[in-house]
């Protein structure tokens, strides 16, 4: 019997959720951080969505948030012209890095020793976290605000996407631009998949996949509505996308076929990411919520429970309940 997707809604934010990121898989599970315009990024348990803590300190909208691989550190980028590094176990603020304009994006290297930041001052900055007093390395080149910056190629290179409608690949040691991709319209999001060196880019209604090293195009897929964010499943069999029509779309990566679409959010979807084990994906929306969606609908995982028809009516099914269906698809 076909099962209908039950998204799990994580409430708590009071304004749009603009960015989210998962950690790697740690001995305590995996974690999720969400960036929100209310200035209070939150840490949640990745497989259940349970709130763990709120990072208090920013004085403006938080535009970007990230966790290091073992979820011991978090970093956030905010409209208060600072990026902050946090202890993700205690919730304490560890470092404040002053910038000259709104900071939009932050990301750690794999060893968590360096932090890459970028934002409206059009500069990429690399901070050495073991020597935070030292001035960061700065890379200039973009001609408008940088929306997203990522490490790639084993942290030897940097990818950045800006409002100047370009995506640029930089070499970390030489700090020089290696390659540029130019688009007709601003890129709305960028995701880097290290295993396989794939870059997932969204612009307009398009989800495009590039080789992250050569920036050669692999394929493009058109969605029914303008897309703000997309994420590729770790096994590269699916990808999900969300955007202006409030829906989440699931596509087959090889055939490009649209497999499913899910309603649930009450506002545009700003960000979507697969969990590190690929069992679920999380979406953040203008409606102020995060929602968790199952990759394999009906599977027992996290808070979702597979109930076989013969179990319904049995004693143990009293513990479970089905959520009232939301707006009919």
């Amino acid at each position: 019997m076909a099962m209908r997707q039950t998204p799990l809604t994580c409430s708590g934010h009071t304004r749009p959720v603009v960015d989210l990121a998962f950690s790697g898989i740690t001995p305590y599970g995996y974690f999720l951080i969400s960036a929100c315009k209310d200035g209070k990024p939150m840490l949640r348990q990745g497989d259940t969505g349970d709130w763990i803590g709120t990072f208090l300190g920013h004085k403006g909208a938080v535009w970007g948030a990230t966790l290091n691989t073992d979820a011991t550190k978090a970093a956030t980028a905010a409209a208060d012209f600072t990026a902050k590094v946090w202890d993700a176990v205690s919730g304490d603020e560890v470092l404040t890095l002053a910038h000259k304009h709104i900071v939009k994006t932050v990301t750690f290297t794999q060893d968590s020793n360096c932090l890459l930041t970028a934002g409206n001052d059009k500069l990429l900055r690399i901070y050495d976290l073991s020597n935070p007093e030292a001035a960061p390395l700065e890379i200039a080149g973009h001609t408008s605000a940088i929306k997203k910056a990522l490490w790639c190629n084993n942290d030897k290179q940097i990818l950045s996407a800006a409002d100047d409608k370009t995506i640029r690949l930089w070499d970390r040691s030489s700090m020089e631009e290696v390659k540029t991709l130019t688009f007709d319209t601003s890129v709305s999001s960028m995701e880097y998949v290290a295993d396989g060196e794939i870059l997932v880019i969204t612009y307009g209604k398009t989800i495009a996949f590039y080789n992250a090293l050569s920036l050669d195009l692999i394929k493009t897929v058109e969605a029914p509505a303008p897309i703000n964010s997309a994420s590729l499943h770790p096994e590269k069999d699916f990808f999900v996308a969300g955007g202006e029509d409030f829906k989440l779309y699931k596509f087959d990566y090889s055939t490009k076929e649209e497999l499913e679409s899910y309603k649930g959010h009450f506002g545009p979807v700003h960000c979507v990411r697969f969990s590190p084990d690929g069992e679920l994906y999380a979406s953040g929306s203008e409606d102020g919520t995060l929602r968790l969606w199952q990759t394999a609908v009906g599977k027992t995982y996290g808070l979702w429970k597979c109930v076989l028809p013969e179990d319904l009516g049995a004693e143990n099914s009293e513990q479970m309940y089905t959520l009232a269906p939301e707006i009919k698809a």
């Binding site: 208090l56 919730g91 429970k305």
Partner: protein
């Protein structure tokens, strides 16, 4: 018609009274470095423990007595954005997240009763 997938419960939401990061969680206990040696590992120096406990209770007591002595005194708060405001101190909440004050003098008038968010405060001073 498709049956919606069952869930055990909804994800837990934020606690309105605290910022979270439960110090009793297994992850916190295992990973949080502490500046107090006897809290850190199992190789606790048995003689150190009562000394540290004593130090901790002395510090806590003097902090609480300090808060008691500020009660009903005129206090000047130095806050971010170059804000300096004067008020009469009332009380603090248990996590020191908010201070209750009266007669808060602001540039737009005197607020009879107000809550000051501790994270916004850099320092405050008063005459004992």
């Amino acid at each position: 018609m498709a049956t919606p997938v069952s869930v055990l419960r909804l994800p837990k939401g934020p606690d309105p009274n605290s910022r979270g990061f439960d110090p009793k969680s297994p992850r916190f206990i295992a990973l949080c470095r502490t500046s107090i040696p006897t809290s850190a590992g199992s190789e606790a120096d048995v003689e150190q423990l009562p000394k540290e406990q004593h130090a901790r209770s002395v510090l806590r007591e003097s902090f609480l007595r300090c808060l008691l002595s500020v009660t009903n005194k005129k206090v000047q708060f130095h806050m971010y954005e170059r804000v300096k405001v004067e008020a009469t101190f009332g009380a603090s909440d248990i996590d020191v997240m908010n201070f209750q004050v009266s007669d808060l003098h602001t540039p737009i008038g005197v607020q009879k009763e107000a809550l000051i968010r501790c994270q916004d405060v850099i320092s405050f001073s008063f005459d004992a």
